[in-house]
Subunit: 354 residues, 2 copies
């Protein structure tokens, strides 16, 4: 079967790292007899917005909704376009309208990437953050009253649905069950956020009954962030609401040295819609155009995409190639103390794939 | 003037650390000619709840509402009493009903306390977290619909009032202005939480105009937690909503080695009601009764209380004594690699006060 991939480089360094991601995907596809077809799109970018006054064409769903996956660079350029236009007009739209209810991010300490945590070595930190990606704290329900007076107030609702909570928990428990440690940690704050978070806890407890082989625990988000720093070796699969997952999936990669190499998947597990794979880093206007961006986040996201498509061997070959590349100082980009530029680093990974 | 302090040890190790806190307060008071009068209360504890079926007497406000400050140990014992009864029946009640709208916590790397962050030394990390303590995400507005069906959902509102947001920002800007670096960082998430957080940002911008001498910046909470780990030296005063402040004031102390020694103040700056000073740690049922709890959190909270009362010299003398005590391995408790018990550590600090 041939996989059809929609490629959207977006803004800034998105445009620089994507060619390297594609280079490595092509190398892995060739080695492992996987057939990939790429369609390139220029929307979901500042350039497109400048020309058309909107982030995406009206028929964006027809254009990319039938692809097997979407391979995404980065979007946003705060100095030119407000976040709520660029992000809510593309990335968050994909998540909602393609029902990508899982945001999946590995937290893994890689060779060659020094951890800011004292004494942690590759192998010590290796877990997944599973984030609910469509509801929770990122709702659009709320408003403002008595504007510009002393009585002014704003409200915004957090919304958790049975369907929404149960399906993300199911995904997280399944993932935990598939791993050697079979350990799930739930992020809560039911001692302070007294309505939605106790509900989350209740659903975790109910779901846990269906997975007797999975050991599970829960921590309030405040002490959980502390434990990411103090005991990152405690975790295997960590599941959280939209906001808590967002926080943990930036903090986790920070504990492993750099969010510059972290990948992510915005996944619709049922395959009713395409899933989006993108590096965690943004468009980085400050270093865009210099050819120095680290392409590992994009490349690793490509590996996650292959695994999602069922091509696990090809996907793993990329992750292995990343590890071998990072282990060599000269093949790393500047941000990791190396002297390779974006292209040299991408080429190195492509050559390492086997 | 004589200060009247209400002393509430609460549960678990709260009862063990408070005598040491009092010992040190008495030593500092004597040295610096400060007159303190202590009234002891047994409510806000599991013991009291067991006898009376409620956490506090009906007339708790009359009993402690006229004191100059409340010196608090720890409350909660999840195995015996649910958090929403113990915490919402005492700690969170104080915050709301005594309008303690500031939660103030130092993040400081102390001598003798190894940081989990590689290569950080005392002096490298020294900032304050200022947390809104009465509204925001900790609201009681919301509910559940269609229970036990597939359509079930829960909602909970985040509520930010003009009064509530402006007064915490004012406190934070004033604090920043009083410090050598004059730098304020605001925690936001306006790119995802699209109604309340842009309002927070708007109020920060308005307040900043009144403090032209303060440099300020803002970070989304996800990358801000990452920066606590990667660049803790960037911060001077960090202000956040109830939830964001809660997270940052556990993560911050974790980055400085232990939340076991962190102090906090729940402050009503106008002095209309007493403020509560308490260690960040909880009642720690697992180590209660062994005499090994670290009393530094309680002692340091006592120092914050003196400073709040205007006795800055006496307060500082305690913080200095803590630093000198922690620098000696033998005077530290077990959790910090020493061999002193709770009392020995408390006595050491009391003797160091000058
Ligand atoms: C115990 C809990 C309700 C409380 C909070 O979240 O406010 C605690 O974490 C704190 O920071 O004082
Ligand atoms: C850009 C922003 C809206 C987004 C989020 O909060 O979801 C980002 O932080 C992410 O994690 O993908």
């Amino acid at each position: 079967k041939q996989y059809r991939i929609a490629v959207i480089p977006g803004d800034g360094i998105g445009k620089e790292v994507m060619p390297e991601g594609l280079r490595v995907l092509e190398a892995a596809a060739k080695k492992h007899g996987v057939s990939l077809h790429f369609d390139h799109f220029d929307f979901s970018s500042w350039d497109y917005y400048e020309k058309h006054g909107q982030m995406m064409p009206d028929d964006w769903k027809e254009k990319i909704g039938k692809h097997d996956a979407i391979y995404f660079g980065a979007v946003g350029w705060p100095a030119k376009i407000p976040d709520h236009v660029s992000l809510w007009g593309s990335l968050i739209k994909f998540r909602r309208e393609f029902d990508q209810y899982v945001n999946l991010r590995p937290v893994r300490l890689m060779p060659g990437v020094p951890s800011p945590l004292a004494g942690r070595k590759p192998g010590d930190i290796d877990f997944w953050v599973v984030r609910e990606n469509t509801e929770g704290e990122y709702s659009s329900v709320g408003g403002r009253m008595f504007p510009d007076t002393d009585r002014e107030f704003v409200t915004q609702q957090t919304v958790m649905t049975r369907v929404g909570v149960d399906r993300i928990l199911k995904f997280a428990f399944e993932l935990a069950q598939s791993r050697p440690k079979k350990h799930l940690t739930s992020a809560t704050k039911s001692n302070g956020i007294s309505i939605t978070m106790p509900y989350w806890d209740e659903r975790v407890e109910a779901m846990a009954k269906k997975y007797p082989g999975v050991k599970w625990d829960k921590y309030h988000i405040d002490i959980l962030t502390a434990n990411f720093v103090l005991h990152p070796d405690w975790f295997d699969v960590v599941v959280g609401s939209n906001l808590f997952g967002d926080i943990l999936s930036d903090l986790g990669p920070a504990c492993t040295g750099t969010i510059g190499i972290a990948p992510s998947g915005n996944i619709n597990p049922e395959g009713n819609f395409p899933s989006v794979f993108e590096p965690v880093h943004g468009s980085a206007p400050d270093i865009a155009g210099q050819g120095i961006a680290n392409p590992i986040g994009a490349i690793w996201s490509g590996a996650m995409m292959l695994e999602h498509l069922g091509e696990k061997v090809a996907g793993k070959s990329i992750v292995d190639a990343i590890e071998r590349t990072l282990a060599e100082r000269t093949l790393r980009t500047k941000d990791l103390g190396g002297n390779a530029d974006t292209t040299a680093c991408g080429k190195a990974v492509a050559e390492m794939v086997d």
